[in-house]
């Protein structure tokens, strides 16, 4: 217990120092010492985060450049880096010494006898005499302390390890990729090149790109195609429909990615089976557009409708001569519906019937009347006049190299009126060959029946009255009747053939329509995804897609060094994939333009959706003009019904048509098919307003399509969805990047301002 003489403090004038000043002096020394002590505590481990981070980066860089780094590990990498950061921050904060701890260290090293620690402890009670005395004593001790000697700045450790780790990291980036892969010196001689790997392209299934409602609609489409497939009798068409259905199902269930789906669609479009009868490509009205499947399908449908209508009218006219009875009524009903299949059955039934002479005479007259009615040119005079007008104006344009404004307006009006007539009556002119064939068949049958009838009458008048003569007459009578019945059967076969042809063409159009819809959905989803990725890149501070493509192009133009230098698997494939992707995008855009040329964008092929099916987001809003709402729960292909069996969907995706569900010919017609304006505008890049003729009393419908937005795939996407996608990306970028808080606030404020608001009360309109 030896007293330390060096600690003796004698009473001196300095002892009268103001306690506050004395305390300030102590605190000043402690502040100076605290930072140095903090660093002293951190210095031994200060470089470990640098070592770990640099070594980790070097490992990652090498693995990534050699293609050994799976993209799925990126998230783990981010979490690892975040963990290192958090551990570093926590360690730094935890090692910050308190003022008392600092004072104790200074006391210990400065041999101040714990004076500074005691002063810190009792500084809050500076009014107490003992505290004053102790603080003054501490101030005197602190004045004699040289903090720079007690706590010198230490060199962080381990310095060598950090230098080594940084060197490794630099080497991992700067060493040429060829050296890493152990390639020849000739390849290395290209010089140092930052051969960082191209961004990994994650294979995104088409189902991931499409929205939930679109996927639901695809599933409904698959069910629809299954129905149609079951009804089609032509084997190639049935097989083709099955393939279409399979692709739709695969896309809906995520088995196909977007590229594969588009390839499949292209294959199926090319593989659509031809109709059983030979197409007459030089038919008037086809205007040489047979290669355009959509146009050809529309022309087909118009011709079928014209044939169906002509047959219906002819049969109804002929039935006026038919003997009254149940059969006549049934045939009348079938004729009114344009159901050629049902008519064929009824005619067959007629052929089997044992008719009296009077009845036979009546049916023969009916056949003659039908043949006569079919022989009449069904082309309306107005149609002919309009066609002539259009032809004349086009000749004038060709001759004069243009048209005046008034003539151009007249030409447009004439075309629109012609198109309206075509929609109303079908393609009567184009259907003439079919009608003539039917007329010839009907006329031959009627003539043959009349001839048989006359021979029968003559034979009845000839001959004796013996039993042998009577037996011969009866035999001849039976033969005549059989011949007449045979003619009826031929007529029935002819109608059935026509009905089957129409049915198969309809099925083809159904498949075509699904293919087009699917392709369009994929195109839009792809563009939407590309737009979002472009936004993500910009949000990360990178250049946009176009700039990236330009940069890629620059690299390729640079002697192809980039591709040459990358021999690792995946490098060239990646470039090819990029090129294919760009080509597909271009093809899809061209396909969209072709689609825009077609006169009827929707309502093809008598498609009927399940009553409660989900609406298709890209359906054009249509207004029903059919005679009565469709009642069928499933789709049935029509067989000889009314000329036009195009269904029509209202805004909610439900159908309103003139079909009879019970009869299975659930096809109607309405203004929904008049969406060609939208298709045209979409393809040609000019926004345009179309006036759509709705049902009587419903008033006109105005429809506008903004082409730029539609091309980007936003026009049919809810604003809420778009906002959510982009806001999520922006928020993620804000969290990841080190941005000043003020800038973050600006971005958040912007997204807050544009976020979707709730619709006003009473408004049923969805927020867009």
């Amino acid at each position: 217990m030896t007293a330390s003489a060096s600690h003796v403090i004698r009473s001196s004038p300095a002892a009268a120092q103001a306690p506050e000043a004395a305390l300030a002096q102590v605190q000043r020394v402690l502040r100076l010492a605290r930072g140095r002590l903090w660093w002293e505590r951190l210095a031994p481990d200060a470089l470990w985060p640098v070592i770990v981070g640099a070594a980790g980066f070097a490992g990652w860089a090498v693995a990534a450049r050699l293609g050994w780094w799976p993209a799925a590990w990126d998230t783990s990498l981010v979490w690892g880096l975040a963990a290192i950061g958090v551990i570093t921050i926590v360690t730094v904060v935890r090692r910050r010494p308190s003022a008392v701890a600092t004072a104790r260290v200074v006391d210990l090293r400065g041999e101040t006898g714990d004076a500074l620690a005691t002063a810190c402890e009792f500084a809050p009670t500076l009014s107490q005499p003992w505290s004053v005395v102790q603080v003054r004593a501490a101030a005197r001790r602190a004045a004699a302390v040289d903090v720079t000697v007690l706590l010198p700045w230490l060199v962080p450790a381990p310095l060598g390890g950090a230098a080594l780790a940084l060197a490794l990291a630099a080497a991992a980036v700067l060493v040429p990729g060829a050296v890493l892969r152990g390639q020849s010196a000739a390849v290395v001689a290209h010089g140092l090149r930052l051969d960082l790997p191209a961004p990994q392209v994650r294979v995104v299934t088409a189902a991931e790109l499409l929205g939930a409602d679109t996927l639901a609609l695809l599933r409904a489409d698959a069910a629809l195609l299954a129905d149609v497939e079951a009804q089609v009798q032509d084997a190639p068409t049935r097989a083709w429909l099955g393939q279409v259905r399979q692709v739709v199902q695969d896309v809906a269930t995520g088995k196909l990615d977007r590229r594969a789906a588009l390839e499949k669609l292209a294959e199926l479009e090319a593989a659509r089976p031809a109709p059983p009868e030979k197409r007459q490509a030089d038919q008037p009205g086809t205007d040489g557009a047979a290669q355009d499947r959509e146009r050809a399908g529309d022309a087909e449908r118009d011709r079928d409708r014209a044939v169906q209508k002509a047959m219906s009218e002819a049969v109804q006219a002929g039935l006026q001569q038919a003997p009254k009875g149940e059969l006549r009524e049934e045939m009348k009903k079938a004729a009114e519906k344009g159901d050629l299949g049902a008519l064929a059955k009824l005619v067959e039934k007629l052929a089997e019937r044992d008719m009296s002479d009077k009845e036979l005479e009546g049916w023969v007259k009916t056949a003659e009347k039908i043949a006569k009615a079919l022989g009449v040119n069904k082309t309306p005079k107005e149609f002919q006049e309009l066609a002539e007008k259009v032809r004349r104006l086009e000749d004038k344009r060709r001759a004069e190299g243009g048209l005046s404004q008034a003539d151009q307006r007249r030409l447009d009006n004439a075309r629109r009126a012609l198109e309206a007539l075509r929609r109303e009556h079908g393609d009567v002119a184009g259907a003439q060959p079919q009608l003539q064939r039917l007329e010839r068949g009907a006329k031959a049958a009627a003539d043959e029946m009349r001839r048989q009838q006359q021979q029968r009458a003559q034979q009845r008048q000839q001959g004796g009255a013996g039993a042998q003569d009577e037996a011969r007459r009866q035999q001849q009578d039976r033969e005549h009747k059989s011949a007449i019945a045979e003619q009826f059967r031929r007529a029935a076969d002819e109608m059935r053939r026509e009905a089957h042809g129409q049915q198969q063409r309809q099925a083809g159009r159904v498949g075509d329509a699904r293919l087009r819809d699917l392709r369009e959905s994929l195109r839009r989803a792809g563009e939407r995804s590309a737009g979002r990725q472009d936004f993500e890149r910009k949000a990360r501070g990178e250049k946009g897609e176009r700039d990236q493509a330009q940069r890629d192009g620059d690299l390729k133009d640079d002697g192809g060094q980039r591709d040459k230098g990358r021999s690792a698997p995946g490098g060239r494939e990646q470039a090819e994939r990029d090129a294919q992707e760009r080509q597909q995008r271009k093809d899809a855009a061209e396909a969209g333009e072709r689609k825009g040329d077609k006169p009827d964008g929707l309502g093809d092929a008598g498609l009927q959706r399940p009553p409660n099916g989900p609406p298709r987001p890209d359906d054009d809003p249509g207004r029903g003009g059919g005679a009565k709402p469709g009642q069928g729960g499933k789709m049935r292909l029509g067989q000889g019904g009314l000329p036009d069996s195009t269904p029509m969907r209202d805004r909610g995706g439900n159908e309103v048509g003139g079909g009879d569900a019970k009869e299975g010919s659930g096809y109607g017609r309405g203004a929904g098919e008049q969406g060609e304006g939208a298709g045209e505008a979409r393809g040609k890049g000019a926004a345009r307003t179309e006036k759509v003729r709705g049902a009587e009393g419903d008033g006109p419908t105005i429809k506008r399509t903004f082409v730029d937005a539609a091309r980007r795939g936003f026009a049919r996407t809810g604003w809420r969805d778009v906002y959510r996608d982009y806001a999520d990306v922006a928020e993620e970028m804000i969290d990841k990047e080190s941005l000043p808080p003020g800038r973050k606030a600006v971005v958040r404020r912007y997204f807050d301002l544009i976020r979707p608001r709730a619709a006003p009360p009473g408004s049923a309109q969805e927020e867009r």
Binding site: T2, S4, S11, G113, D114, A117, T118, V133, Q134, A137
Partner: protein
């Protein structure tokens, strides 16, 4: 050289300037006391400082040393220097408690009658030297318990206060253990410090020979009185101690209860809470005697051995390994300081 007057302690505890003056007076008196004792006692600085600290702290000390090293001389010198009443009791196996505390004696009252008269024992003094305290029976040893803890004695049905200050200095001889009665733990715990009186060094022996083998003996000047001691004690008890310093004391005491590796291996029982009190009070006194205004961790470390060495019990392993208490306690202090 002018001597400062004893300050008004109450005033000093209210005014920083007066407090500074009082502390300077304490430092001056302590120096004078050390000088007075040093005139007689050669060397033994640690023992002297411990004795002085215990005197001002109001504690008692147990001196252990071989015969002839100056234990009794130290006590006597101290008593002379502070002008306090001094009693010496030589503890022997036949010493009775009443021989120490006193008793009622049946005496003539001078009028032919008899009365019980209280005969106070030698304990009614300021400084009591209990020489070779371990030679008395435990019954006699226990007579000191009440006096040392509460500064009073009970004789029959009468409880009497002892004069203030009351200071017990007991001695015991570590060599002659035959016929001795080791002090019980309760008794030992009453001693603030146990001071080992070492054999003097050669230089000190030369000095002792020179001073003592001559006709005229050195005298001890009186430099303090009882009131001075009480004033210094009051001042010392008022010294505020920072919490880390108190923590250091507590951790050392806790370590004797098995928290330190050395304690777990060699100690059978740890120190009592009185040890913490003794450490803090002793540190306070040590600080102001040194002229410091605050208690330092070094004070705690310096007092750890005197305070703890008689409060811990070694186990069989320590005895078998030949490890002393001081060795174990030094290891504990080192561990605590490092931790």
């Amino acid at each position: 050289m002018t001597t400062r007057q004893r300050p008004d302690i109450d005033a000093a505890l209210r005014d920083p300037a007066a407090l500074e003056e009082a502390l300077a007076w304490v430092q001056e008196r302590a120096k004078a006391l050390r000088g007075a004792i040093g005139a007689v006692i050669v060397g033994q600085q640690e023992v002297v400082e411990g004795a002085i600290a215990a005197l001002f702290a109001g504690g008692h000390i147990l001196l252990e040393g071989v015969p002839g090293v100056g234990k009794t001389m130290l006590v006597r010198s101290l008593a002379e220097a502070v002008q306090l009443e001094f009693s010496r009791v030589q503890f022997t196996p036949d010493l009775m408690p009443t021989d120490i505390v006193g008793t009622h004696m049946l005496t003539d009252d001078g009028r032919g009658g008899r009365a019980l008269e209280l005969r106070r024992g030698p304990i009614f003094t300021n400084l009591l030297l209990a020489d070779e305290v371990n030679r008395a029976t435990p019954k006699t040893q226990s007579a000191l318990l009440e006096a040392m803890a509460e500064a009073r004695v009970t004789i029959g049905r009468e409880t009497l206060p002892l004069p203030r200050p009351f200071f017990v200095m007991a001695t015991q001889n570590p060599l002659e253990m035959e016929g001795t009665y080791p002090l019980p733990e309760a008794q030992l715990d009453r001693f603030m410090f146990k001071l080992d009186v070492p054999f003097p060094s050669r230089e000190d022996l030369h000095e002792i020979v020179e001073r003592t083998i001559r006709l005229e003996q050195a005298s001890v000047p009186a430099v303090l009185d009882g009131d001075d001691i009480l004033a210094i004690r009051a001042l010392a008890l008022g010294v505020p101690v920072a919490r880390p310093i108190v923590d250091a004391a507590i951790r050392i005491v806790e370590a004797t209860h098995g928290k330190a590796a050395g304690a777990r291996k060699y100690l059978r029982a740890g120190a009592s809470p009185r040890a913490v009190q003794a450490l803090i009070v002793g540190a306070k006194v040590r600080a102001i005697l040194d002229g410091r205004r605050n208690v330092a961790a070094a004070d705690i470390r310096a007092l750890a051995l005197p305070v703890l060495r008689h409060r811990v019990l070694l186990n069989f392993d320590a005895e078998a390994d030949g490890v002393s208490r001081d060795t174990v306690l030094a290891g504990i202090c080192k561990d605590v300081e490092a931790g």
